[in-house]
């Protein structure tokens, strides 16, 4: 699922960024947003690799995140360490924060500010966050930034 190498193989740096950016934007438009997490993490990773300004977000930062779908279909461990982002399909309890979500649309609604429906998310018990909320806030900033940048809406 998170085979970024496969997604960008044979592409130039710029093309790889474009490809994953398009993929991320497309995932937002998708009704079910099934691929949202994968597209977000893949784009985030390549942005960290290729964009020094964006990489500044994780320089000197250590944080680990467990993303997990309620149905057990998705379990992704994301680790940030000294400017690097690692994505693994596994579960771990030794993380700063765990996010359990009903589906991709719910996670997207939770993470991204644009067109967010907070009440719906709460009423449908869509996303549960366990652990240090501040790490989630930081991740939220990084995710929102990507969307705003791609859509030309950065302030």
């Amino acid at each position: 699922m998170f085979d970024i190498e496969r997604l960008i193989s044979g592409l130039s740096v710029d093309k790889a960024l474009d490809r994953l950016g398009e993929r991320f934007l497309k995932s937002l438009e998708d009704e079910t947003a099934e691929t949202f997490l994968e597209a977000l993490l893949a784009f985030m990773k390549i942005k960290f690799m290729l964009d020094p300004a964006y990489r500044k977000n994780i320089e000197k930062f250590r944080g680990s995140y467990q993303f997990r779908s309620r149905d057990g279909g998705v379990a992704v461990l994301v680790k940030f360490e000294d400017g690097d982002m690692k994505i693994r399909e596994k579960t771990s309890d030794d993380v700063n924060v765990t996010v359990s979500f009903k589906d991709g649309r719910a996670l997207m609604n939770f993470l991204l500010s644009a067109n967010r429906d907070i009440l719906r998310g709460l009423l449908n018990n869509e996303v549960l966050v366990a652990g240090n909320l501040n790490y989630m806030y930081k991740f939220g900033f990084m995710a929102n930034h990507l969307q705003l940048e791609l859509t030309g809406n950065l302030p």
Partner: protein
């Protein structure tokens, strides 16, 4: 003493006070902006000069000395008082060790969000994102408490939002500092006392801890004096380049004022006001302003006012100074992330000021300054401060009550009314001496608290009562959290055979919720002790210098914690409906009731809903059944909370005021047995559900007869009167009658639904329309849609008939 001939001060108008008029216009025209000064200074200090080997008290003392010394002196407009809460005209203060990080995800969108946007520059976004916030994720009160207590259940339950909120994650405000100390002594004298006490101590462990506290008090207060000196220099600098002679003179006077106060004892009304204002600014650097209240300003400031009047100050000049103070108080806005805005938005800082009432000997304390303050309030019609008027039937004069009603009619929403007789009795029941009880002020919304000597954190807990009802119905589960076992596993309601059994289930779930939220508040209190002592507030609180202890460690003369209950009338009506229809009249079964509320009273259940709603057995009527259930619930909550001890060795008190939480919690809650449909706002405060208490006298009688000694954290009875039928005498008579029956507090919106509907539709036409929410006042346009709907549908009484106007 009252010497005024005209209590309404009719000659004092905004047209005759052009400065206030301009400042008011500027206030409403100014965009709120995020200010990064405080988090920048705190973060810099903690990264560099801070010495972690120091005690928490000493670290805090050094920190706030640094913060105040490095706070920018801003004199940006023609206000007569110097100093600003932030470096912005109207600013949002960010507290990095509290909840500032909650806006991290929104930094790049917060200036464009639909509701209550805050301005922020690109440079500030980058500074917060790259330099400031990254230092704090493991260092906030919330996360320190989580780590120290192993991510406890009580904290995880709060994060499900629908059960309760423990506000110490934001601050320890909700109290009244002792501003009398500021104006009677000045800070240098308080520093001197702290120094003398420090030098008198020996070398024992206990003495060393006290020494650290005294040093912290001295350090932080010296920082406040440095800030005033910086303001003075700034006023001189501006005066030197000012071409307008009159303004130059004002700035030079301002420079002199800030040279004198708050270091020394003020000599004039203006100096006294500026001394209090500078101290209030300082206290806001230490803690977020959530109901950091002003106390009895008309009593504290009266000697300065009276002296200046003798020296020739006019009433208009006095009103102008109070008006300048009111506009200063309104110079900051609480931080609220998008979710907060969506559920609970629109709240100001809930800074209460208290007027009138009796003195410590029980005599009428209303004076000329009381009326001057009322005039400034009437002219400016601002959200902050939240003006609370004390009235003691047959002690304070009727003409004073008439004037309070007149101001309420003219402003539409302020002041609110407190009954001294009942409030004093409620406080005395909590061990407060009679003299100290008589010297109470309102904190935040409505909570009575002995002025300047009580650390009561009267809003530390906000608990959703309907969540206990849900868990009683579903065997410890809640519909929002689905299959998760939240509360104790008990028999589901469908298997219960008596009303007594259902009440027992309610008590089980309520008791469990109370255990959780008290544990959480105590955990958070200990986290404050560990990383966030409050030396400035402590130095300005009676008891702390005597004991050598910070307020957060129990230094104040009186220590308590206040828990506000949300959804009282909805729960009482629900429990009463279960008693009446399921167990007494056996009109339907519990299973049918549960099916009905699961279906949101739709389809075949509409008739059932009509039957339940038509029942006269409701909170706020003559119903004995509802009254008995209200007494039971209020008694159970009081007894259970009083049985708990807070982290300072004090008691928990219970109140019924809801801010905007009745709308937020309501939006998250399904249909209820009372006939309420899902997502509808709950009734506010201690107010009956709209439409269920059609007769005003019954409503007032019902609430007045509740045992106010079990409501020591105050209550908000929110009523709406139709303007066209609200004469001053009718209005005053309803308040007088309510108080003579024992009512504790009542507040009014004098506005009709048509105006509110129009304001909802065309907010631009009503930029300054302000309304009573549940305890405090808010600008209608700032409220979230749920809260606007609640205010619109809130029971409106016609004073000509005494009956509720039907909605719709």
């Amino acid at each position: 003493m009252v010497t005024l001939d005209d209590l309404s001060l009719k000659d004092v108008t905004l047209d005759r006070l052009p400065r206030l008029k301009r400042l008011r216009e500027l206030h409403f025209a100014t965009r709120t902006e995020i200010c990064v000064e405080l988090p920048r200074n705190i973060t810099h200090y903690m990264k560099h000069p801070d010495n972690p080997a120091d005690s928490p008290e000493l670290r805090a003392g050094k920190l706030y000395k640094y913060v105040m010394e490095n706070k920018r002196p801003v004199i940006a407009d023609e206000n007569l008082l110097a100093g600003t809460t932030t470096a912005r005209t109207i600013g949002v203060v960010l507290y990095p060790d509290f909840m500032a990080l909650s806006i991290w995800p929104e930094l790049e969108t917060i200036s464009r969000r639909k509701k209550n946007p805050f301005g922020i520059t690109r440079a500030e976004i980058d500074e917060l994102n790259f330099d400031i916030f990254p230092y704090w994720p493991d260092r906030t009160i919330q996360e320190v408490a989580r780590k120290d207590n192993g991510n406890p259940l009580c904290q995880r339950i709060m994060e499900r939002i629908v059960f309760y909120i423990a506000t110490k994650v934001y601050c320890i405000s909700h109290t009244v500092p002792n501003y009398a100390m500021v104006v009677e002594r000045g800070l240098l004298d308080i520093i001197r006392e702290a120094r003398e006490r420090e030098l008198s101590l020996g070398g024992s462990k206990e003495d060393r801890a006290k020494k650290d506290f005294y040093q912290a008090a001295q350090l932080s207060l010296s920082g406040v004096i440095s800030y005033a000196a910086n303001l003075s220099r700034e006023a001189e600098r501006l005066a030197a380049k000012e071409v307008d002679t009159k303004r130059r003179q004002e700035l030079l006077e301002m420079a002199e004022v800030c040279k004198r106060v708050p270091a020394g004892r003020p000599r004039t009304f203006r100096e006294a006001l500026n001394a209090i204002w500078i101290c209030k600014i300082a206290l806001h650097q230490e803690n977020a302003n959530v109901a950091l209240s002003l106390g009895r300003l008309d009593q504290v400031l009266y000697p300065f006012y009276a002296e200046d009047i003798k020296r020739g100050m006019t009433l208009a000049e006095a009103v102008e100074l109070i008006g300048c103070f009111w506009l200063k108080i309104a110079d900051h806005v609480p931080l609220s992330p998008e979710t907060g805005e969506e559920l609970f938005g629109g709240s100001g800082s809930n800074q209460a000021v208290t007027l009138g009432g009796v003195d410590i000997k029980g005599a009428d304390a209303v004076n000329d300054l009381t009326y001057v303050v009322l005039k400034a309030t009437e002219l400016l019609r601002l959200r902050d401060p939240n003006v609370n008027a004390r009235y003691y039937p047959q002690v304070t004069k009727k003409e004073y009550l008439d004037r309070l009603c007149e101001v309420n009619i003219n402003t539409g929403a302020t002041p609110c009314f407190h009954n001294d007789a009942s409030a004093v009795e409620a406080l005395s029941g909590q061990g407060v001496s009679l003299e100290h009880a008589r010297d109470y002020s309102s904190v935040g919304c409505v909570e009575p608290s002995s002025s300047g000597r009580t650390y009561g954190h009267t809003g530390c807990i906000l608990m959703n009562l309907t969540s206990a009802l849900e868990m009683a119905l579903w065997g410890g589960k809640h519909r929002l959290t689905e299959d998760e076992q939240i509360g104790p596993k008990i028999k589901p309601a469908v298997a219960m055979t008596s009303f007594a059994e259902f009440k027992k289930a309610m008590e089980t779930q309520l008791g469990w919720l109370i255990d959780q939220v008290v544990t959480l508040n105590n955990n958070l209190g200990r986290a404050h002790q560990k990383i966030h002592p409050t030396p400035m507030l402590s130095a300005l609180m009676e008891g702390c210098l005597e004991k050598g202890k910070d307020v957060i460690s129990g230094g104040a003369t009186y220590n308590s914690s206040g828990a506000a209950m949300i959804g009282l009338a909805d729960v009482v009506d629900s429990v009463t409906a279960i008693q009446e229809f399921i167990f007494d009249k056996k009109k339907f079964t519990m299973a049918e009731m549960i099916s009905a509320i699961n279906a949101d009273w739709s389809g075949p259940y509409k008739k059932l809903q009509a039957m339940v709603k038509a029942s006269p057995e409701k909170f706020g009527t003559d119903s004995r059944m509802a009254k008995a259930n209200a007494d039971w619930l209020i008694g159970f909550l009081h007894d259970t909370f009083q049985g708990k001890e807070n982290y300072r060795g004090g008691k928990y008190t219970v109140g019924y005021w809801t801010m905007t939480n009745h709308a937020g919690f309501g939006a998250l809650t399904g249909a209820l047995p009372s006939g309420r449909m899902k997502n509808e706002p709950f009734a506010s405060g201690i107010t009956p559900v709209s439409g269920s208490a059609p007769v005003l006298t019954s409503c007032l009688n019902f609430v007045a007869r509740l045992d106010h000694t079990r409501i020591a954290d105050g209550h908000a009875l929110n009523l709406k009167y139709t303007p066209s039928t609200t004469t001053m005498s009718r209005f005053a008579n309803t308040v007088e009658a309510f108080f003579k029956m024992g009512g504790l507090q009542v507040q009014f919106n004098i506005i009709d639904r048509k105006t509110l509907e129009d304001a909802r539709k065309y907010p631009e036409k009503y930029p300054d329309l302000f309304v009573r929410v549940s305890g405090y006042t808010a600008y209608f346009k700032d409220l979230n849609p749920h809260m606007q709907q609640e205010i619109i549908t809130r029971a409106e009484y016609d004073l000509a008939t005494g009956e509720e106007q039907k909605y719709g």
